[in-house]
Symmetry: C2
Subunit: 318 residues, 2 copies
């Protein structure tokens, strides 16, 4: 089959890869649409080690599911962490932290920038007919945005700041806006600000951010300057949510976190079911986030496009 | 009056200082006993800037309180943050984070290593007759230990690790043991381990700490190695409490906090009332923590003693 393949930090388009064979309990899925995310770009830059087919945001259709044939022919999205079910994390309700996990297109499992992928049937969520492929492909990043509210109680009266308004930052801001909170976003690029303004979301220039002015701050840039701005903005005993990984180590004045009694919450993968509910109800319409689409065989071009500053979601189709 | 005085990182014993004059709403307090804490040592080492009389752990007696004469003659301990009552922090229930605060012996206000100090009457707590001076002088650090449970819900079923078993680490461990949690402490020095064993608290060598084995970890060393061990021990979605300040900046692999979705909570000053209740009921008996006592005029010797590794609480008396 055709796929993008990453090895030694070099991404190539290959036509000679075998179609994956589903193991017991797994489904074979034909990928309909896949999205390029910051993690994919970081893997190509070598910040994160992975050899194989990348890609973890997808919508597809089940072509084979021997152990659950009722899934065959259904349009699906899939949770990206495969779990053992027996480790301490799985048995204590934290399956996304499974000690023996593989992660689709990220860790020990080929991903979605291919004609086909395999995933355990237990990871699948059926996509309602009313939700288009172009919306469904955002289920995974939308779930990651909702993980913030899974972890932190955002009160309707809270003053909330999102630092960064790229692909994930937009979804974070849009979902937080639904809480009724007093929301502001630091967005560097004009098109990012336009997308927020369209939804009535207030933006701030970096120099307008009030010191100690926010109850909750979400850091979605993955940059040391973003972290510093978030720390500047959060009030004493406030919450900073770290929604991006950082290249290398960060130098932090940890004593300020102690003196101001700040809570810092790391946040990663989130719940698919509420993400699909948001898409189904039309509460989140991600169409505006699509920058452009490329066929899989032009995947290398697509990656170049996605790496340009300010470019939103680049999709790969069959 | 006599006092220890810090200027340009040099501590001296002086006999020529004026007795402080209480402002409106303040009391003049004769210090009976004061304790040397890690923060005091750091100020002398120059890690923290302060010029004036240090000292913030004390028990004393009110000699003058014009606005509330019923306090005169009473034995008291005092909250160390003085507040304005009008800033955003004060008006939102976070007086210890007052934007205009002074802090006894730490920030803009002379402290307790003196014959007399002044504090607002609103900061005072009467010491019950049954609580000795030697116990009451631990009210402030005991309150700081209890701040952990003020901020984090420690469940009786939680596996909890305290890294560090010095002056504050001991009080933290003793108060956490009262929750019924499954507690272990990393203690480097044999006398520290003896104090814990006496209270039935389990200790671990650093190499015995289980990876991802703890629901809550309290970092009480203020060292990068202590932070690293705490991060190693905390489970995914677990809580790390930072109870010490750190000299300078710390280099952190922040991405691991994101991937493991760890919550980091900075923790500083705590509630005096429950600390006094613990002392009054005898649930916490800090006598064992007293290493030795010096008269105020031998304060420089006392500081040298307190700075030696493994030495517990050094007290200054009149």
């Amino acid at each position: 089959m055709n796929a993008l393949y990453l090895t030694n930090r070099t991404l190539s388009f290959r036509t000679d890869l075998p179609t994956p064979q589903p193991a017991a309990g797994e489904a074979l899925i034909r990928v309909r649409l896949a999205g390029i995310c910051a993690t994919d770009l970081e893997m190509v830059r070598g910040y994160y080690p992975f050899d194989g087919i990348p890609g973890h945001e997808f919508v597809g259709e089940v072509v084979r599911a021997d152990d659950a044939p009722q899934w065959e022919g259904r349009r699906v999205v899939g949770e990206i962490n495969t779990t053992c079910g027996t480790c301490a994390q799985c048995q204590n309700g934290r399956p996304t932290h499974c000690e023996n996990r593989t992660v689709l297109g990220i860790l020990g499992r080929d991903g979605a920038f291919a004609e086909y992928l395999t995933l355990p049937i237990a990871n699948l969520h059926a996509v309602p007919d009313e939700v288009s492929d172009e919306h469904a492909v955002f289920t995974e990043p939308l779930a990651a945005a909702l993980e913030i509210q899974q972890q932190v109680h955002v009160h309707p009266s809270d003053r909330v700041l999102v630092v960064g308004a790229g692909r994930l930052g937009q979804l974070i801001a849009w979902t937080l806006a639904l809480t009724g909170c007093d929301l502001a976003v630091v967005a560097r690029h004009e098109p990012q600000r336009t997308l927020l303004a369209k939804r009535g979301i207030h933006t701030l220039a970096e120099e307008e951010v009030p010191h100690w002015g926010m109850d909750v701050v979400v850091e979605a840039t993955g940059s040391p300057t973003g972290f510093a701005l978030a720390k500047y903005a959060v009030r004493p005993r406030g919450v900073m949510v770290l929604k991006s990984t950082y290249a290398g180590e960060l130098r932090l004045d940890v004593s300020r976190l102690v003196v101001d009694e700040v809570t810092v919450v790391g946040s990663r993968c989130g719940p698919f079911a509420p993400a699909l509910r948001h898409l189904h109800k039309g509460l989140i319409d991600p169409s505006d986030l699509i920058a452009t689409r490329y066929p899989l065989e032009k995947g290398l071009e697509a990656f170049q496009k996605a790496a340009q500053p300010g470019v939103l979601k680049v999709l790969l189709h069959r």
